[in-house]
Symmetry: C2
Subunit: 186 residues, 2 copies
Amino acid sequence: MLAAAAVDLFYRQGATATTIREITQACGLTAGALYNHFASKEELLYTVVRDSHLNLDAAVVRELDSAGDPPAKLAAIVRVYVEQHARHRKSSRVANSEYGQLTGERRAEIVEIRRRLRDRVTDVLRAGERSGHFQLPGRDEATIVARAILDMCVHISAWFHEGQPLTTADLQDRYVTLALRMAGST
Amino acid sequence: MLAAAAVDLFYRQGATATTIREITQACGLTAGALYNHFASKEELLYTVVRDSHLNLDAAVVRELDSAGDPPAKLAAIVRVYVEQHARHRKSSRVANSEYGQLTGERRAEIVEIRRRLRDRVTDVLRAGERSGHFQLPGRDEATIVARAILDMCVHISAWFHEGQPLTTADLQDRYVTLALRMAGST
DNA sequence: GAACTGGATAAACAAGCGTTCATACAGTAG
DNA sequence: CTACTGTATGAACGCTTGTTTATCCAGTTC
């Protein structure tokens, strides 16, 4: 409940610009009540950001396992990313734009998850390059193309919202096509 | 000088998390001195954000005029975007991630510039679709493909920094290729 | 040299921040 | 009934925030 209110406010105003009193008031509580559930404002942000990243990572792993060749794997990843950033756009956007406010170990943990997520895409692109399924636009380009694909997928959360005429499923189809084209899928 | 220090701090910490005293201290001044140059913290942010947007817009218009067919125009836009977001990554990133903190008329002005920038890309994609240079992945997809291309270009500023082995010029070439592939350039 | 200007200062301001704490109260267990 | 746990409260804490103000000083202009 508190976490949900926090996501909503962080999404609209940014985490730094959002007040403990705003968050608790949105749940009909007073400021002090928050500290029965979270040790600090940063821990609350950390919880929200980590949950979003872990959900995404788990979904990617799940879909990756049940996909076959590199094009199928890339399509699966893109499908998951679009789904996550379209359907849970508030928490996803908070996760992506506010994780930098974390400090120390918490920040390091999130950065590590993000590196892992990026590597999964890079690995698929490299495998596809070797197998001849993909033709990337340069030498050792997998990391760059991975970043480009992820940037375009992640930032859906900044502008998309479900409704006429474009559904999440539509968006998934379009973005899979775009990603495969970027990879030079044959 | 003050604006440059502000860009640097906004880039590293976010605008809300950055203090007037931090900005002025970075220039060897005290807090009050800022108000000889800017009416408020928001006006300082506004100046920084607007300058970045206007520079980008001017560069896009200039290059667009001297490019021929739709593929050349799309390539020109991507070149400008990559250049701007790679070489001036701090101010670009601040412009893109902090403009939402502006309020009222100032915010409306920036939102309008951003819409115009997006429309320039959409128009090129539509023209290329009509002329047969492009084949977009669906019906009336120009707006979506435009967003995807811009998202991937803009967010270079979050991870790129000039150096070995990848130069800005390299990145421009790669991203032009990616964008043309996304548009289904023949 | 008098008048004016632009820009700097230290000090203060009210408001708001995240956080703590003593207290209270409802529900559950023994 | 008693003890305990979980959670809420309101008031306070010390600190920081953006901003204002009276004052000062170095140049420039006449």
